[in-house]
């Protein structure tokens, strides 16, 4: 039986792994891959200590730092499907059919892209509907595009599109776009973008590929259409908390409710950190710090057990 199983290979999980190894906690590290959501960022300029780094490089660095630790067992390419608890033994089940037992768990499984759930979204996935602007923006050379979502990720997608697309509509559900002003200013200065607020996307349509998007003005109720060949969906993130939904308290968005001081969840023996939790700010640096907090608390907990 392990003392600790860490689930998730983003900045939170890796920070926790490094600390757990150095504390010589008998740890198993399970993840699908490394890097977390930032993997798809073209450039991260606020990872402290590094002026500018691509998401891919950050992922490499994180994985390298973790693998450099002697006292940790790592299994990647693994997806945790379920977590169960019986008395003081917690069992972790994977998609490979494995079962691992542990005294404690730190869940740093992060979150994933939210989908629009409108007609056409599935049908045109990859055929004009995209979720990775860093990857797929170059295919939009001289095309008219739409970004759904006027938050930071929406404007970052617009930034990725700037060198390629000739027009970028940004559709925002609320009354105003809420991205950081640095990014907004750059996108707006390009003259290529047009923001449409109070817009609720109703349908993505086309033939073999996307031809357009249909949305409703939430103020007037009026239905409108835009001719676009690419739709980049950036409407936020959904926490990867399904594996513990029957075990611990989640908020209405499915995020794990944690004690902000210790990162404890509502269930003894289970801690969580990063974007899978109800943390107020979703940041790499914060996720890493919170996960370290969790490991130190787990270390104290294991000592008195």
């Amino acid at each position: 039986m392990y003392e600790l199983i860490i689930i998730g290979g983003g900045p939170a999980g890796v920070a926790a792994g490094v600390y757990a190894a150095r504390k010589k906690i008998n740890t198993l590290f399970l993840t699908k891959d490394f890097g977390g959501q930032s993997l798809v960022s073209a450039g991260i300029k606020n990872w402290i200590g590094v002026k500018d780094i691509s998401g891919f490089e950050l992922a490499k660095n994180l994985e390298g730092h973790l693998r450099d630790q002697e006292d940790i067992e790592i299994k990647d390419n693994v997806f945790v499907s379920k977590i169960e608890k019986q008395g003081e033994v917690i069992s972790v089940f994977t998609d490979k059919g494995d079962k691992f037992e542990t005294k404690t768990i730190l869940l740093t499984a992060g979150s994933r892209h939210k989908r629009l759930n409108v007609p056409g979204e599935d049908k045109y996935d990859g055929k004009g509907v995209f979720y990775c602007s860093t990857c797929d923006a170059p295919l939009m050379k001289n095309k008219t595009t739409a970004v759904v979502g006027g938050g930071n990720s929406g404007f970052e997608a617009a930034m990725d599109l700037l060198p390629y697309a000739n027009k970028i509509y940004i559709l925002e559900y609320t009354e105003e776009c809420k991205a950081d002003s640095v990014t907004c200013d750059k996108v707006r200065a390009s003259g290529k973008s047009q923001e449409i607020t109070m817009a609720e996307v109703k349908e993505i349509f086309g033939d073999e590929f996307v031809k357009g998007i249909r949305y409703q003005n939430r103020k007037t109720g009026e239905m409108k259409e835009l001719s676009v060949e690419g739709v980049f969906v950036e409407i936020g993130f959904q926490p990867n908390s399904e594996s513990v939904k029957d075990l611990i308290d989640l908020d209405k968005y499915g995020r794990i409710i944690i004690d902000q001081k210790t990162q404890k969840t509502s269930s003894e023996g289970i801690w969580a950190a990063g974007d899978v939790t109800d943390v107020l700010y979703n940041q790499n640096n914060i996720a890493a710090g919170d996960a370290i907090k969790a490991v130190l608390n787990i270390y104290d907990y294991l000592k008195i057990k």
């Binding site: 890097g35 990859g126 860093t134 990857c135 923006a137 170059p138 295919l139």
Partner: protein, 75 residues
């Protein structure tokens, strides 16, 4: 023959290439960002526009799908 269709900064393209390298698989990389004819070829083969696309002896794999790659290569 293995062809990987990529764009420059796409992390999953890097991951796919590294995975092939790790398994000693020789491949040709085609950057569809620079080569529009290749972009059309990729879309024609995969019926979609997302990258990466892998053509492994005429088996088309969309995205960095390890299981799919393993199967196509018999790894």
């Amino acid at each position: 023959m293995v062809t990987v269709y990529t764009t420059s900064v796409c992390p999953y393209c890097h991951m796919a290439k590294e995975y092939l390298e790790k398994n000693d698989i020789k491949f040709k990389e085609v950057n569809v960002e620079e080569d529009e004819a290749a972009a059309r070829e990729m879309i024609q083969k995969s019926h979609q526009m997302g990258v990466p696309v892998l053509d492994i002896n005429n088996t088309i794999i969309v995205g960095f799908d390890k299981a799919g790659i393993d199967k196509a290569l018999g790894l």
